[in-house]
């Protein structure tokens, strides 16, 4: 048997899974999105209504607010924040000072705590910390004299997104930091020494040696965070239930609300399809910037 036969054979199981667990459900979902299927009428099925769900979705003002929440607050701000903070934290952990006092390992262990916390536990803990009446954070701020009246962080529209992003960052920043830390530790020390001899100060060395070395990691991490965050449901739903009202509604919660609270499964499927299309764009970017380069290295 030649290699020509061998390769497709080895790939066959993967394609089998892709077709049955992704391809088929996607097509089924797409069909549903073209009907007025209701959760209460699953047995009799929905009537075919063409693109009406999509027209309704794309012409509603609410959709663009949900889109803004998803793309700007949930994804852009939280991803950018975690990339920057992760980088700073990794630099701090990798600093000669921490290494000198042998604190690197200890701080890495501390970092694992939030990461090992399941999202549901994280959200519950933070809801309690941020609580408007009993919350430790309010108590502390009052104690320090920084505020007079308690702030209901997860209800106040001015603080709710920052509070949500804080929870997400607390839970997932460690992974970003540890990934960057591994990247930092793989910078060949001679490069820094060569730059030092070339007269580069710490800032120059960061921009001319460290950052270029870390760039591939930053790109991959950014794209992965976008994947994980863009379609994330858990944090928003558990922390605010998309509220107050629908103030923090995002695409993932919108699918759930439309499908399982408003019972409009057909419409919910249409939202899902739009979301999938947007994910596909990120997927293409990932393929273009990461996977393709890796393929080229293998081939």
């Amino acid at each position: 048997m030649g290699e020509r036969m061998f390769v497709p054979l080895m790939l066959a199981p993967i394609f089998f899974f892709l077709i049955f667990f992704y391809g088929y459900p996607t097509l089924f979902n797409f069909y549903n999105s073209l009907t007025d299927l209701s959760l209460l009428g699953l047995k009799q099925g929905g009537a075919f209504i063409g693109l009406r769900n999509y027209v309704e979705l794309l012409s509603s003002k609410d959709f663009y607010r949900v889109l803004w929440n998803t793309l700007f607050w949930l994804t852009a701000v939280s991803v950018a924040l975690r990339i920057v903070l992760g980088l700073l934290l990794a630099l701090l952990l990798n600093s000669a000072t921490l290494r000198h006092y042998r604190l690197t390992t200890a701080s890495r262990l501390v970092l694992l705590v939030p990461w090992a916390t399941p999202p549901i536990v994280a959200v519950v803990v933070w809801r309690w910390l941020l609580d408007g009446r009993q919350g430790v954070i309010n108590k502390a701020l009052e104690g320090l004299g920084l505020i007079d009246t308690p702030i209901a962080f997860l209800a106040n529209v001015d603080t709710i997104w920052p509070a949500l992003i804080t929870i997400i960052a607390w839970n997932t920043l460690p992974l970003v930091t540890l990934t960057f830390l591994a990247g930092l530790q793989s910078v060949p020390p001679e490069l820094h020494e060569a730059a030092e001899m070339d007269g580069a100060n710490a800032i120059n060395r960061f921009f001319h040696v460290t950052l270029p070395h870390l760039m591939p990691t930053v790109v991959v991490m950014t794209l992965l965070l976008i994947f994980w965050t863009f379609n994330n449901f858990v944090y928003i739903w558990l922390a605010t239930g998309a509220g107050p009202g629908l103030f923090t509604n995002v695409l993932a919660t919108e699918i759930y609300i439309k499908g399982f609270i408003d019972f409009e499964l057909g419409f919910s499927s249409a939202v899902g399809m739009v979301m999938a299309a947007m994910m596909a764009v990120f997927g293409i970017l990932y393929f273009r910037f990461v996977a393709l380069r890796e393929f080229r290295e293998i081939l």
């Binding site: 060949p188 001679e190 020494e193 060569a194 001899m197 070339d198 580069a200 270029p212």
Partner: protein, 377 residues
Amino acid sequence: MAGLSLRGVTKQFGSVTALTEIDLEITHREFVVIVGPSGCGKSTLLRVIAGLEQLSAGEIYVGDQPVHRVPAAKRGLAMVFQNYALYPHKTVAQNMGFALKMAKVRRDEIDRRVVEAARILQIEDLLERKPRQLSGGQRQRVAIGRAIVREPKVFLFDEPLSNLDAALRVDMRVELAKLHNSIDATMIYVTHDQVEAMTMADKIVVLRGGRAEQVGSPMDLYHRPANAFVAGFIGSPRMNQLPATISAVSSSGVSITAPGGLELSLPVAGHDARPGQPVTLGLRPEHLTVGPQSGGTSLDLDVYVTEPLGGETILYGHIGDNSTLVVKVPGGTDVGKGQRVPVGVVPAMCHLFTEDGTAFTPLHTNDKVERIGASSS
């Protein structure tokens, strides 16, 4: 101009002492090679000079300026790293110009100096490439170019040729020597390869266990090694070192007996030597001759391995009580495995060391030794 002077340089890593009180005077434009086995502190010494490591004690002067408290960038030294340490995402030109850019030199001036250095190293057509698009030898040139561009007072090389294949290494050795002749700078070069040391150095520093065992010209070290370690390290194949015993001491020298019934009177100063004292006899393979001996002393060698190298052949054999002796003979010599051949020893070419390795001082004048050495090699 810029000589370099080390005074009592000591470096400790925690409880490990990597360098112990190194004293070294290097004059302007000198090519100094620091040589020694792996782990002896060569890199550490270079890094201390460069300013990449703080010294634990001692002083370093460039010219008459103390620099041991000056940061690496301000010492006016350039270093070529063993694995080149080129900035992987920068082009060759950017790599070479980086130090000047950091020093805020004008753009056109940077370009001029980069092109000039590239011309010297014949890498002008590589300027726009990235390091990963270069061969090992080309990377090496870029690394050297990066140092040249800065017009440093002193070049520091840490085993720069060890990653190149044998043929390229010989070429680069010649090129470095040429470069040294053409530019106005001092060079300090670290290697574990005694051939590199012998061929390139004006002055060799032999390092062992963080101590300078001997400092001198290549011929000094070859003909007058201060101790058995230097004698064994310099020269290829290694010097034979045989256990021997002093039989008599006189004003004209020291008589010894060695394995294989060898009796020799060596023209070295006896000083505190006394009969019966165990010593080490040093015989360089290239100073032994094979064949019927007209005069002098000879011993019988039972050859068990021959290594024909073309121009010369290395013989490995036993003498007397199974001591091994290595002899280098001209390529055409007709000696085979299993043969017993007479080997001639010239007393003036022998070295003698005390039990702790210190060399006995030769009695005759230095030029005589060198003349004999030159004619026999």
